[in-house]
């Protein structure tokens, strides 16, 4: 007789299993499992240099893992041919840290770019769509500016408008809050949450800005030394039993991650000569 207590089936959009990735001899990821749920904001956090950006590039199929698999919407992304990979990428948006706007096109043309590349829409329709996307990020008035005339926060918002131009199912954010002043930080935080809920997106945020990210994430993964060391809703992770996670989440200067880079004892070093 089959058991009645079936586990609740979760709607996983990105399923990462046993991910290993090496750069030279150094293991960036050493057996990472992550589930990114459809419709949720999932944050992946960790100190600088833990390969967070690398993870996004692996999910986007720009890098190949040394071992393990990454399934996006049921398709193993590294087993796809170019044509299928590109078809899948059309359904993903990625927001790079710098915005990665095309510097020879103005704001309007940047947002229109994916539409012109991938659709045969008439010009009038493209104009309407672009203006709506720009309105969603609050930059409809900036449509004639060139990327060089935008502040860092504005460039990211334009990139976000471009990222949602094709109405993707998922957006990957690479360090969206780094180097932002408090106001544009607040704008971006709200925007990511609102867009996620309004457009029924799935959002993946890679970041080390603890407070901002925890405020809007449904799910949190903490990565260090190539492994997931904590996971769960932000409230749970914040009171985690792991000393490492506590140090990271509270920004303590000393703890499992020592303040000092490994060195010989000071006295011996000072009077060595």
């Amino acid at each position: 007789m089959p058991s009645r207590r079936r586990p609740v089936k979760r709607d996983v959009l990105v399923r990462i299993r046993g991910l290993r990735f090496y750069r030279g001899d150094r293991a960036i990821f050493d057996g990472v499992d992550i589930d990114i749920l459809r419709g949720k904001v999932t944050a992946i956090m960790g100190p600088s240099g833990t390969g967070k950006t690398t993870l996004l590039k692996l999910i986007g199929g720009q890098l190949r893992p040394s071992a393990g698999s990454i399934e996006v919407d049921g398709q193993n992304i590294h087993a796809l041919g170019t044509r299928d990979l590109y078809a899948l990428r059309k359904r993903m948006g990625m927001l790079f840290q710098s915005g990665a706007l095309l510097t020879d096109l103005n704001v309007f043309e940047n947002v229109a770019y994916p539409l012109r590349e991938h659709t045969d829409l008439p010009e009038s329709m493209i104009r309407k769509l672009v203006l709506l996307k720009l309105e969603a990020v609050g930059l409809r008035g900036a449509r004639d500016l060139m990327p060089a005339e935008l502040s860092g926060g504005m460039a990211r918002r334009v990139a976000l408008a471009r990222g949602i131009a094709l109405d993707p199912m998922m957006i990957l954010y690479d360090e969206p809050f780094t180097g932002q002043d408090p106001i544009s930080m607040g704008v971006l935080v709200q925007l990511i949450r609102r867009l996620n809920d309004a457009a029924r997106l799935t959002s993946v945020i890679v970041s080390h800005d603890v407070a901002e990210t925890a405020a809007i994430a449904d799910d949190l993964y903490v990565i260090a030394d190539g492994r997931v060391i904590d996971r769960g809703p932000p409230a749970k992770v914040k009171v985690s039993g792991s000393a490492w996670t506590r140090q990271f989440m509270q920004g303590l200067p000393d703890g499992p991650v020592p303040f000092h880079y490994p060195a010989a004892p000071l006295a011996g070093d000072l009077f060595a000569v």
Partner: protein
């Protein structure tokens, strides 16, 4: 003993790296050539690059062509007049230009003016994640960014070289006929009689096509393969100019030997 082993290891490493780069360069070239199909469907991409790579190089090519022609006129007249052979000045000027100086000097100037700009532009696009951004937008950056630039360079070179040679001939005419008193009719008729369409002009065009191919290839490869930092881009730009110059001069010898050597 260790020092010997270390230097051997270093030699091996350098060799392997060079080989790997050569491989990456050829794989990239294959990708770029594959992009010809999509490019034909969107010729506007090529036109934009033809403008920035070709048209914007016209001034430096034109001015250099005139001056090189004028120097040829002076030097040629000085030597030829010793043998009383000033009448062949036109032939000398035209032959040196269409056979050698036109293709070679144009390629060197092109590497400095357009090749370096291509490398810097592509390298900066890489450093600012624009190429990654295109890829994530499901746009192939090789087809979209590199192929139009490569073919713009390849097609511009023979046109620029032809311009260089034509203006050089007029530069030589200005000095020889205008200033030093060579007979106008002799200058042109000697040239017309002695310059051969196949032997001289076609071979010159073939040379400049080869140089265009190589210079454009080096420029886009150095940009695409650079380390995406400010230092990496500057190194790549330098490499483009140095490698292009060496490749052009080396290939010029090989091509000349094949074309004119008996």
């Amino acid at each position: 003993m260790n020092a010997v082993l270390d230097s051997l290891a270093a030699l091996g490493r350098t060799g392997l790296e060079a080989l790997a780069r050569l491989g990456r360069g050829h794989v990239l070239l294959l990708g770029v050539l594959e992009g010809l199909g999509p490019l034909v469907r969107r010729p506007r991409l090529l036109l934009v690059q033809l403008y920035s790579v070709g048209v914007l190089s016209v001034l430096i090519i034109a001015v250099s062509g005139i001056f090189v022609g004028m120097v040829l006129g002076l030097q040629g007249h000085y030597i030829l007049s010793r043998f009383g052979a000033e009448a062949t000045l036109g032939v000398m000027v035209a032959a040196s230009l269409v056979r050698e100086l036109g293709p070679v000097v144009t390629a060197l100037l092109f590497a400095g003016r357009a090749g370096s700009a291509l490398t810097a532009e592509i390298g900066l696009m890489k450093a600012t994640e624009q190429l990654s951004g295109l890829e994530m937008m499901a746009v192939n950056p090789v087809y979209r960014v590199l192929t139009p630039r490569f073919f713009a360079g390849f097609l511009s070179m023979p046109l620029l070289a032809a311009m260089f040679s034509a203006l050089g001939v007029y530069g030589g005419w200005f000095v020889g006929v205008g200033l030093l008193g060579v007979d106008d009719g002799t200058y042109w008729s000697q040239m017309q009689a002695k310059i051969d369409l196949e032997e001289d002009i076609y071979n010159g065009v073939i040379k400049s096509l080869v140089f265009g191919f190589v210079c454009a290839w080096i420029a886009i490869f150095q940009g695409y393969d650079c380390v995406p930092t400010s230092e990496g881009v500057s190194r790549a730009t330098t490499k483009t100019v140095v490698h292009s110059a060496l490749a052009v001069l080396g290939l010029d010898f090989v091509l000349t030997a094949l074309m004119f050597g008996k």
